[in-house]
């Protein structure tokens, strides 16, 4: 765990150093200490421009990347437990595609009813709406089983992707495709201080609730029948956790677009490192997810600078092959063979 925190801090520091203007590690660290202490510690011996870049641009960006990575990591881990499928991720339940569709509707029809945050609100509403429909489909005609949930989510995602494509292709605005692409592949370019409070609060609250329920989440891994026999009201618990992860995922998509593979891959790495017990695995996946997205964002904005890649491309290029390697190395750990 200490190693993971160190990794996170290193990622964060490098994230502050690198960009269109590179700032030495010592300076970046001093500026952060200066800023954190409200000017009490470390005397300014740097250019003011550096301080502005760090404080106004890079700190919020690193925080946003960290919060999104942590949220996706814990959401992915909890979703894998509630649908009892290690191949599930936040995107599997249709939340991500619903959020993207919501955002695209706003961009396509130029809706600005709710001011500067219209796009974010639409994404959040889209995610929750998609989820509610998945929920309703999975419940129709009896119990909500993991398989029904996953199948409903996959079907929902496919329909929503089609709607998104349709909206883009029929748009009179030739720029829309590029803007939508950036949304569906994610990025932290919009990071600014005023965007942070909601995702930060959602992560803290969500993670706190999950940690309180960690023991119960463990029971879900043993299957519904075992979980009932061990004292869990399975259906009610699954419903609560489902809504919680959906809200958390919806908020992350609203602020950063759809970033794939974080919620799918990180839980696996964490289970290899610290085991499956959610009491240890949830904090670990938050830290590791945060480190991963900060690093991915770093690559996304520096590899072909000054052009910025959507961060979802980086996470998919790293996460996809890693997943395949994991699959080949140890299919058992993914539960795809017995």
């Amino acid at each position: 765990m200490a190693g993971m925190v160190t990794l996170l801090l290193i990622c964060a520091l490098v994230g502050l150093m690198i960009g269109s203007v590179s700032i030495p590690a010592g300076t970046a660290a001093s500026i952060v200490v200066h800023w954190l202490s409200g000017g009490l510690l470390s005397t300014p011996d740097w250019r003011e421009a550096h301080e502005i870049i760090i404080v106004e641009t890079r700190i919020p960006r690193v925080i946003l990347a960290a919060v999104v990575g942590a949220s996706l990591g814990v959401s992915g881990m909890v979703i894998q437990a509630i649908v009892r499928n290690p191949l599930a991720g936040p995107s599997i339940l249709g939340v991500s595609s619903g959020a993207a569709t919501g955002a695209v509707v706003v961009m396509r029809f130029g809706l600005v009813a709710l001011g500067a945050f219209t796009l974010h609100i639409a994404a959040f509403v889209g995610g929750l709406a998609a989820l509610s429909i998945v929920f309703w489909i999975a419940r129709t005609g009896g119990q909500m089983t993991p398989t029904r949930l996953v199948l409903a989510g996959v079907a929902m995602s496919a329909v929503l992707s089609a709607i998104t494509s349709l909206l883009v292709l029929t748009s009179p605005d030739p720029q829309l495709a590029a803007r939508v692409l950036f949304w569906t592949l994610g990025g932290f370019g919009s990071a600014q201080w005023k965007l942070l409070p909601i995702p930060v609060a959602a992560l803290i609250l969500g993670l706190a609730i999950m940690l309180v329920q960690a023991r119960r989440l463990n029971l879900l891994m043993a299957g519904d029948e075992s979980a009932v026999a061990l004292g869990l009201d399975v259906e009610r618990f699954r419903r609560t956790m489902f809504v919680l992860t959906a809200a958390l995922t919806g908020i992350t998509v609203a602020v950063s677009g759809v970033i794939g593979f974080v919620g799918l891959i990180m839980p696996h790495i964490v289970r290899l490192l610290v085991g499956s017990d959610h009491r240890h695995a949830l904090p670990a996946v938050a830290i590791l997810g945060a480190s991963f997205t900060i690093a991915a964002d770093l690559v996304a904005r520096s590899i072909i600078a000054p052009i910025e890649l959507p961060v979802g491309i980086v996470t998919a290029l790293v996460g996809g092959p890693f997943f395949i390697w994991l699959l080949r190395r140890d299919a058992r750990s993914l539960g795809v063979v017995r």
Partner: protein, 259 residues
């Protein structure tokens, strides 16, 4: 185990699935400390009946009472504090270790944020030792054989500190040595036991009472020599048997096909 054995009363229990009765109007009582064997062909309704006891399947009619309390009026947690269910198997999508699985049995006794105590660890250790799983405890549950898994699931039920153990065909994957050691363990365990069993002779040897089921109904209930009769076994299984007495124990011995 230090818990007092519980009494179980099943009264007029009926379970239907899509209109078809799986269990129909079953009434039986298991007195505290008794070992009841549930017999019957595949599909007789044994597993379904047991599910109503550990609160997995809600009866469409009838009541299941534990120590006089309706289990469906109490919470899942309360039931798990009193009933230890040993299931036939457990899904293995996640890389849980044997110790992880056994430790799950403590959940019902823990408040939400309560950490594991020395007491929990001691119970888990004792249960692991009792089932001779010491050398397996850090191995992945899914790499174990069927018989080893069965012992892990029994160990998990024991750390629940139950007053009644409910077992669904616990001897299924076991070789004869472990079948005998499991059944003698259940006899000695000191809590009430209700177990679905397939082997008629082992049931006769270890159970205090037997309940013979067919098509969801109770066909016979009582002492082994009253339940294991050629006429009843012909009715239920459609096989001819001869009944003798075991040369050493004097218990009922069922010999097939020798009329």
């Amino acid at each position: 185990m230090t818990t007092p054995p519980a009494g179980l009363e099943i009264t007029g229990v009926t379970v239907r699935a899509k209109g078809q009765p799986l269990v129909e109007d079953v009434t039986l009582e298991v007195r505290p400390g008794m070992f009841l064997g549930l017999l019957g062909p595949n599909g007789a309704g044994k597993s379904t009946l047991l599910r109503t006891v550990y609160r997995m399947t809600k009866p469409d009619a009838g009541v299941v009472r534990l120590n006089g309390e309706d289990v469906w009026q109490r919470s899942a947690t309360w039931v798990a504090q009193h009933v230890g269910a040993v299931l036939q198997d457990m899904p293995t999508e996640f890389p849980l270790t044997v110790r992880d699985v056994v430790a799950m049995g403590r959940s019902a006794h823990k408040a939400l944020l309560e950490p594991d105590t020395k007491h929990d660890a001691a119970l888990i250790d004792a249960s692991i030792t009792l089932q001779r799983l010491e050398n397996f405890q850090h191995r992945a549950f899914r790499t174990l054989s069927g018989g080893e898994r069965q012992r892990v699931l029994l160990a998990r039920a024991l750390v629940q500190q139950p007053q009644i153990l409910v077992l669904d065909e616990p001897t299924n994957h076991l070789d004869i040595r472990y079948q005998l050691s499991l059944l003698s363990f259940l006899r000695e365990v000191g809590v009430t036991v209700i177990a679905a069993l397939h082997d008629l002779n082992l049931a006769a040897m270890f159970c205090d009472q037997l309940c013979l089921m067919n098509n969801g109904r109770v066909v016979a209930l009582g002492e082994p020599e009253d339940v294991l009769t050629p006429a009843l076994l012909w009715d239920v299984y459609g096989v001819d048997v001869t009944i003798q007495n075991h040369p050493h124990s004097g218990k009922v011995l069922v010999l097939p096909g020798l009329t």
